[in-house]
């Protein structure tokens, strides 16, 4: 499936800011869409659409920080660059703690924003690549039988076939057969690769 082109979404209640950012993105050859409010953006938002978000902090109705919270609840991975004319450290820290990609104070130079937008787009590509990879690993995991999953868990803990056989109360030959099926279903070329796959889908601590 071909990837959709990346779009930079701008959400700002100030007409002049929206217009200038629209022109800036156009001049840099970056596809952009502008929205006057958080609600307007959220109602149009499609999680499958790659890109990044340039978001004003202070807006009437839902603020930028509230919108970030809403996007987090929806599991959005879109990198968010906050822009504000009234930023302070607690506000910046809160935004960053909740996963903002960057936080920029107005006025800023055009190039400063474009540099950050480019970095955010790279981050989005990386994030989506990682998600696709973990989705594929989970799909393969779902094809394992309960016994194969047990063998997988034990061998990726570093246990030899003989130990796995002892833990599961089966013969070593049976473990070898299950292990071969695991490697095949997981499309893993080596135990190291299998371990990396399991680490990729393990919950972060």
């Amino acid at each position: 499936m071909k990837d959709l082109p990346q779009i930079v979404f701008v959400v700002d209640d100030d007409d002049a800011v929206r217009d200038s950012l629209r022109l800036l993105l156009k001049s840099a050859g970056i596809p952009g869409e502008v929205y006057a409010s958080a609600q307007e953006f959220l109602s149009a938002y499609d999680p499958a659409q790659p890109g990044c978000l340039v978001l004003d902090v202070r807006m009437p109705g839902m603020s930028g920080l509230e919108m970030q919270h809403e996007l987090n609840l929806r599991g959005a991975t879109l990198p968010v660059i906050f822009i504000t004319g009234h930023g302070d450290i607690p506000m910046a820290v809160e935004a960053m703690q909740h996963g903002a990609f960057d936080f920029l104070q107005k006025p800023f130079r055009d190039q400063e924003l474009l540099d950050r937008v480019q970095r955010a787009l790279v981050r989005d590509t990386d994030n989506r690549g990682r998600l696709r990879l973990t989705d594929r690993i989970r799909e393969r995991l779902a094809t394992l039988s309960p016994r194969e999953r047990e063998v997988l868990d034990l061998v990726t803990q570093g246990k030899a076939n003989k130990m796995v056989a002892g833990d599961l109360g089966v013969s070593q030959r049976t473990v070898e057969i299950h292990r071969a099926h695991v490697m095949q279903k997981m499309e893993a070329g080596s135990l190291a690769e299998l371990v990396r796959m399991m680490m990729a889908v393990a919950p972060r601590q």
Partner: protein, 136 residues
């Protein structure tokens, strides 16, 4: 060089399991900062290495609950230090104390792995609350 203060507070959680008890304050923080941190319940030790390098050596101990980087160390490469500290200790809470209104520095510190950035002045209460909320 490393200095240290001790208090006699206990350091077990609600299940009686002993937990990390040392707060490292990197840099020549103010006397008030040290007092605020020493007063936190559950910590028996506040140490203050005078360089980021020395602080990084100290963070290897299991006893360390968090690292606080004082504002006088900003001339050293804070971002580089944070990146290095994060590589070594993924889950260690790291607080950066900074002058008020330096939003760009705060954002950069957060991007490089700080848990929170606290401006001093105005509020030691924020420092106390942030550290307590994260590590107690």
């Amino acid at each position: 060089m490393v200095g240290s203060d001790h208090n006699a507070a206990g350091a077990t959680n609600d299940r009686g399991i002993e937990r990390a008890r040392t707060i490292i304050v990197a840099g020549q923080s103010s006397q008030r900062t040290r007092e605020v941190l020493r007063a936190l319940r559950g910590f028996t030790n506040v140490i203050w290495p005078t360089s980021l390098e020395a602080a990084l050596e100290q963070t290897g101990s299991d006893d360390v609950a968090c690292l606080v980087i004082a504002d006088d160390l900003r001339e050293e490469s804070l971002d580089e230090f944070l990146r290095e500290a994060r590589e070594l200790h993924r889950n260690l809470p790291i607080f950066v104390i900074t002058d008020p209104d330096d939003v760009a520095e705060a954002v950069s510190a957060m991007r490089h792995g700080a848990t929170a950035v606290i401006e001093i002045p105005p509020s030691y209460a924020v420092l106390r609350e942030e550290v307590a909320r994260t590590v107690q």
